[in-house]
Symmetry: C2
Subunit: 367 residues, 2 copies
């Protein structure tokens, strides 16, 4: 195959064949007690579902992702041995609570005619998965060939594997586990940052004047938790801001950033251009609450339900979802009698390695 041909095929694979909204039942009850009325799921399909309906790869996205898998994880399409875009159909579904097409806090609440804002009900990963299963029913997909996701995407994969065990042939969850105390604490602080911004207005901010500084601060803290000490040291060290600020000079109150601060502020600004603060609050809460064995008599009983051929991937430098936590789950799944392999992505990129090092990730998944 010539290089040109490869490029054309890749280009072809990166365009969704369908982008649509799927209407959930007019009342969609949530595990925590709330109800969504007239909610929708935005999804993107790449390639064609074959007549047997058994060639679908479900890609679950992380906190700030979307149904448009090609925009945030194009590597999934270029993974010989994992996904064959000629033969397989890739399905991305935006999660409830997000701001990329599915119903979330910035959607209109049919009961009031205004955006839900802070009144968006508490949605959990279990609700996300239950809603996704309804879309799969509609698409007549009984069983996906592979479900794959990282971070909150990995949480969805684990939840799928336990709650709907017959519907996944293979499942890969990367950098995902119930959040530990450090992660719960950092998420709490990120929410405090948003709510501290006077522009938050108890969640009822006008869409054009959102709490930008609060959301930026939340994102910047999250970015610290997604990366590693080591990577930051290597990339930014103690260098002054590349824009020319001088931390050592008395330039007035609290000016003069180091390069890492300039980098973080840039990340905060970029995030404001593409994300909604109330969605951020909603999704960090569902991240906190994820605990797929909760409600079972024993965790063995939950993990033992898994029928998919499961692979868990821990990231060596991940301090938000430590590799040891991921490895411990793999062990529990195996101990409960289900099939689970554990692999470790050795990277100094921290939690973000699933986005930053796609080739290394694909290599260990193919191994």
């Amino acid at each position: 195959m010539s290089v040109a041909a490869t490029q054309i095929e890749t280009h072809h694979a990166l365009v969704p064949s369908i982008e649509a909204d799927f209407a959930l039942p007019s009342e969609f009850p949530l595990e925590a007690g709330g109800v969504l009325h007239g909610a929708v799921l935005r999804y993107s399909l790449y390639g064609e579902i074959d007549p047997k309906r058994d060639n679908v790869v479900l890609v679950c996205h992380a906190l700030s992702g979307s149904a448009r898998v090609h925009e945030w994880w194009p590597a999934i399409f270029s993974a010989p041995g994992l996904v064959d875009p000629e033969k397989e159909a890739v399905l991305g579904i935006n999660i409830l609570g997000s701001c990329y097409g599915s119903t979330g806090p910035s959607s209109i609440n049919p009961a009031t005619g205004n955006p839900y804002g802070a009144n968006f009900p508490l949605v959990q990963i279990s609700d996300i998965v239950r809603a996704q299963a309804l879309l799969l029913d509609k698409l007549q997909i009984d069983r996906v060939k592979l479900a794959i996701g990282a971070s909150i995407g990995g949480m969805q994969v684990l939840e799928w594997a336990i709650q709907l065990p017959t519907r996944l042939a293979r499942a890969i969850a990367i950098g995902a586990a119930p959040l530990g105390a450090m992660g719960l604490g950092l998420n709490h602080l990120q929410r405090q940052a948003i709510m501290l911004d006077p522009g938050w207005k108890n969640g009822n901010y006008p869409p054009d004047t959102p709490p930008r500084r609060g959301l930026a601060l939340a994102r910047e803290l999250a970015v610290c938790s997604y990366k590693s000490n080591d990577l930051f040291a290597q990339r930014y060290g103690r260098q002054p801001d590349r824009g020319g600020e001088d931390p050592w000079h008395d330039t007035g109150p609290h000016k003069g950033r180091f390069d890492i601060a300039g980098y973080l502020d840039h990340q905060g600004e970029k995030f404001n251009a593409r994300f909604d603060a109330n969605s951020y609050l909603a999704i960090t809460r569902m991240m906190d609450l994820f605990d797929p064995t909760r409600g079972y008599a024993t965790s063995d009983q939950a993990w033992g339900r898994i029928q998919a051929r499961m692979t868990l991937v821990g990231i060596s430098s991940d301090w938000l979802f430590p590799a040891s936590d991921v490895a411990a789950i793999a062990k529990q799944i195996t101990a409960a009698g289900a099939s689970c392999e554990y692999r470790e992505l050795v990277s100094n990129h921290g939690h973000d390695a699933f986005l930053a090092e796609p080739q290394a990730l694909l290599e260990i998944l193919r191994a």
Copy 2:
């Protein structure tokens, strides 16, 4: 010696023999270009300085400490082999920029008659040490027997050892090094949190209505950086808040904390009762800027100036000042021809181990 006698002696040792303000020269120029007018240093002296003036132990405090060593590091007084409170005099000096008696942002600016607020000039660790040396001159202490400190206190010790090498016989710096990119980033975010609070008012808040929520958020983030994943997992795990909140129940917008969040919020509140937001801004900046070899042709030239018998202590679980950073400095000092021993405090308490595990710290210092 009877237990009763020991108790009486300990009690005696914990009461300062002198607490006083030392007036710096009417103009005290700062390295970054500012000048402090009529500044003072608050100090506490425990025990008596002997006629030879050679029995003084200088204790340097960390971010939120004070001259009153007995209030935050009583262990230093009960350290057989390190400090003998019968024979030695312990001197604590509050740093410039603080809010515990020395001149800081909440002090009155003689030029305006109002508190400095955000106009407090940029103070660095080198300024702190130069001011402390003037107090030692006044007290006729040419050379301290021991200078000891952790975190920003350890930064002062390192700065002392390089800048005024003849004035320390022995020096111990714990959990201190120039801050890496992660630490610089987290300090930046803490300052953003304070400045995001509408109550900050560009640093000119009335003393009775300070930016409480911003300072609390800053402190809570700092507390995360002072502790370890492991300790938080052990102490708080995924337990709901001990006050009875239920994270899984839809109790309205963003209520229902986990225990770690309740703990952090409690730390934030406690800190507000005792610390000033502008001091926090000033001291985190001096923490950022600490780099004692800066300005020397080579770092060897700086480290080689040290004459004190030096001990550096790294804390195994410290991710704010990684033990590897501390060990690297010890190596550089030795390589530069000065005397330096490195010891590691094995603890899962993170950076805070110097406060949380005083007995273990004393044991490795005596070893």
